[in-house]
């Protein structure tokens, strides 16, 4: 099989009979994908692009309206623009924290400790449970009378301070706004984009870091198995202590998987939906509105109470989001490609 394909002479002449057979067999194995996924996906994307330039409500034929949807999306400061600002805070917070937490967990669970397997299994637990179940549990933890406030109250009590309970899932105050408040100032609502992520948004971020960190921990654990022990031996012969070995051996060796985790984490973070749908529906004051939540709402007519289906508008927002994700991924891929062939 391989012999003829490797011959450069045969290549130049076009396909030999053998190569043709191999190609046909290959295509046959690929047929489930070629038949539907490839054609369907490409077709679907073309259709999406088309309706993003139209006004379309599913029941009447699409009406071409040029760039109106895109223009509307990019000027809607209470909708799409706001969701982009929110998702920006979310991505730049969640991705670094979940990556760091995943690495930390993996390093600890990679040590030879009693019950290593047991610990790995337990920590991975939240990854196999649904976002909805986790949200349902955190919903009660985050109540004004809930456990989180209770804990803060106890901790503050230790230092003789008072903790005023926060309604975690219904508090639109932004991070920078709180800092400004602490110095006696405020940030007016027309400068909402300077207020930073709201308390509610940060509460959701924390919850999601909690659930996704162990998912990525597994990837780090797998990658740690691949670090050749000889490298550590060499490092210790050169007189490196544990910390130096970590910075100069472990971290560089984990670079490919780190970048993979960052890329997958970013793609996932941009599309956060379940928790918003379950816990806040975009509120309070639109501070947890996300692009996917908006797209879902507009496409199925679940926004604004009027149940108006705006497929064209939803599609335009989806494309803008895809472009943003694509740009982010491209930037990250430039780093990935320097140093990884295996992924």
């Amino acid at each position: 099989m391989a012999a003829s394909a490797k011959s450069p002479v045969a290549r130049k002449r076009g396909l030999t009979a053998r190569e043709r057979d191999e190609a046909i067999t290959g295509y046959l194995f690929l047929s489930p994908y070629l038949l539907v996924t490839a054609i369907f996906t490409v077709g679907i994307i073309a259709f999406a692009l088309y309706i993003s330039f139209t006004s379309y409500n599913l029941f009447q034929a699409p009406q071409f309206n040029g760039l109106e949807n895109y223009q509307k999306a990019l000027t809607d400061t209470n909708g799409f623009i706001r969701s982009l600002v929110n998702i920006f805070w979310y991505v730049i917070t969640v991705v670094p924290f979940q990556t760091a937490a995943a690495l930390m967990l993996a390093l600890i669970l990679n040590r030879k400790i009693r019950g290593q397997q047991f610990f790995r299994t337990i920590f991975y637990g939240p990854s196999v449970t649904s976002s909805i179940v986790i949200s349902a549990i955190f919903l009660w933890l985050y109540l004004k009378t809930g456990y989180v406030n209770f804990m803060f109250d106890r901790i503050f009590g230790l230092f003789g301070a008072d903790w005023s309970a926060i309604e975690w899932l219904n508090d639109p105050r932004g991070l920078f706004q709180l800092i400004a408040n602490a110095f006696g100032g405020d940030i007016p609502s027309n400068l909402w984009y300077l207020r930073g992520p709201s308390i509610t948004w940060m509460a959701i971020m924390f919850m999601n870091i909690f659930t996704t960190a162990p998912t990525f921990m597994i990837m780090y654990l797998a990658a740690l198995q691949d670090v050749p022990p000889t490298l550590y031996e060499a490092a210790s012969i050169d007189g490196a202590d544990g910390r130096q070995a970590f910075w100069n051996v472990t971290l560089p060796m984990l670079r490919p998987v780190t970048l993979l985790i960052v890329v997958l984490g970013t793609i996932g973070a941009f599309q956060v939906f379940d928790q918003v749908q379950f816990l806040t529906a975009g509120g309070p004051l639109n501070t947890t509105l996300t692009p996917v939540y908006l797209i879902y709402g507009e496409a199925l007519g679940r926004i604004g109470g009027g149940s108006i289906i705006r497929m064209g508008y939803a599609s335009a927002m989806a494309f803008l989001l895809a472009i943003i994700i694509f740009i982010f991924t491209l930037i990250q891929r430039r780093y990935i490609e320097s140093g990884t062939e295996q992924y």
């Binding site: 099989m1 391989a2 394909a5 191999e22 190609a23 067999t25 194995f29 690929l30 489930p32 994908y33 038949l35 539907v36 996924t37 369907f40 996906t41 490409v42 994307i45 259709f47 999406a48 309706i51 599913l58 600890i108 669970l109 040590r111 397997q117 299994t121 337990i122 920590f123 991975y124 637990g125 196999v128 449970t129 649904s130 909805i132 179940v133 349902a136 549990i137 955190f138 009660w140 933890l141 998912t215 597994i218 990837m219 797998a222 198995q225 793609i267 599309q271 939906f273 379940d274 797209i295 879902y296 496409a299 199925l300 497929m311 599609s315 989806a318 989001l321 994700i325 991924t329 992924y343």
Partner: protein
């Protein structure tokens, strides 16, 4: 031992310790840190589990203890009285408060009711009520019945199993095609496939939804199940990685024995790939069990077909005054994947390592 009795010693906190001891200490410290981390990590789940066993009254009472408990009561001469923790000369006693007074009250000792009423000096309002552990196990059957769990579970299980088989089988074929054969356009096709991982589902949501509405599939399971039978990018990627590690010689030997590609794939490659296939199957099962976005959209308005994730959302909306029931429902929901994961974790972890990557 005599020859090697010298061991470098170091000061560890306050003690001079040998290297050996230091290693043990270090290992102990790491285990301790891990346990601590674990405790923090399990707190939300633990809280959910504990709250699911409380009574409605206790959930609503902010001063109630953390564990499920009921205020203890004692029946004395035909009437029920609250039991308090009363400090006495013989230590703290659990006495029932019969006659309340400002500066002194009369109690009865449930352990010794014949002694009659005992006068106690002090303000009864400062006393802690005595509580006894009381798990409301029947929150679980109540949640089970209220939400019609059996149907939700069966719907979810049907969805998870069908798509698991479809997605893994079809993906294995495609992955093998990419791993072993040379054909024109292979690079491009693989790139398109990988591109679908990056592509936000939201982008395809609008046209896919429009398409499925057009052919009349919305409101049924079809839009969720049928596409899974045509391979998905993640599974193909993972399985291809694994197939690439299987040496070519196996297939060459099979080919010499006269086996065709399909036969070789089924009887040589697939048995070799069991760890990877298991891992991918489990990934898919967990994904499908927890899937929320797809069913929410395509099954809208058809509560009979809801899977558990969507069912739980509606339950949450209807019973927001009974968190203990919602949490019981949440715990029931997370049990099946957790149990499967615990049972299969050895295979699963092995699979994660062999495929190199997970979802």
């Amino acid at each position: 031992m005599a020859a090697t009795s010298y061991q470098p010693s170091a000061r560890f906190l306050f003690w001079d310790v040998t290297l050996q001891q230091r290693k043990i200490l270090l290992r102990g410290t790491i285990t301790l840190v891990t346990l601590l981390l674990l405790a923090i990590y399990l707190m939300p789940l633990g809280y959910g589990a504990v709250t699911s066993l409380k009574s409605k009254q206790q959930v609503a009472d902010p001063t109630a203890p953390i564990l499920p408990a009921e205020a203890a009561r004692y029946e004395y001469e035909g009437r029920e009285y609250d039991v308090y923790q009363v400090p006495t000369e013989d230590g703290i006693q659990q006495w029932a408060l019969v006659n309340k007074g400002r500066e002194s009250s009369e109690f009865v000792d449930p352990a010794n009711p014949e002694a009659g009423l005992v006068e106690w000096q002090g303000r009864w309002r400062t006393l802690e009520p005595a509580r006894s552990l009381d798990f409301q196990w029947n929150n679980y059957p109540r949640a089970w019945e209220t939400i019609d769990f059996l149907r939700l579970m069966l719907n979810t299980l049907m969805y998870a199993l069908t798509t698991m088989v479809g997605a893994v089988v079809s993906s294995a074929f495609v992955a093998y095609g990419f791993a072993r054969f040379r054909f024109p356009g292979k690079g491009l096709l693989f790139m398109v496939l990988m591109g679908t991982i990056i592509l936000p589902p939201a982008v395809t949501l609008v046209p896919t939804y429009a398409f499925f509405t057009y052919i009349g599939w919305t409101g049924t399971w079809l839009p969720l199940i049928v596409p899974q039978f045509f391979a998905n990018a993640y599974n193909v990627f993972l399985l291809r990685q694994y197939f690439l590690t299987i040496p070519n010689e196996m297939e060459e030997a099979a080919a010499i024995d006269g086996a065709g590609p399909l036969r070789t794939f089924i009887s040589v490659i697939l048995p070799q790939a069991v760890p990877a296939l298991t891992a991918v199957s489990l990934f898919h099962f967990f994904f499908a069990w927890n899937d929320f976005f797809g069913p929410l959209i395509y099954l809208a308005g058809n509560p009979d077909w809801y899977p558990i994730s969507v069912g739980l959302t509606f339950f949450n909306g209807l019973y927001s005054s009974e968190p203990q029931l919602i949490l019981a429902a949440a715990i029931i929901t997370l049990l099946p994947p957790l149990v499967i994961f615990f049972l299969a974790q050895r295979v699963f972890m092995q699979g994660v390592v062999v495929t190199g990557v997970d979802k």
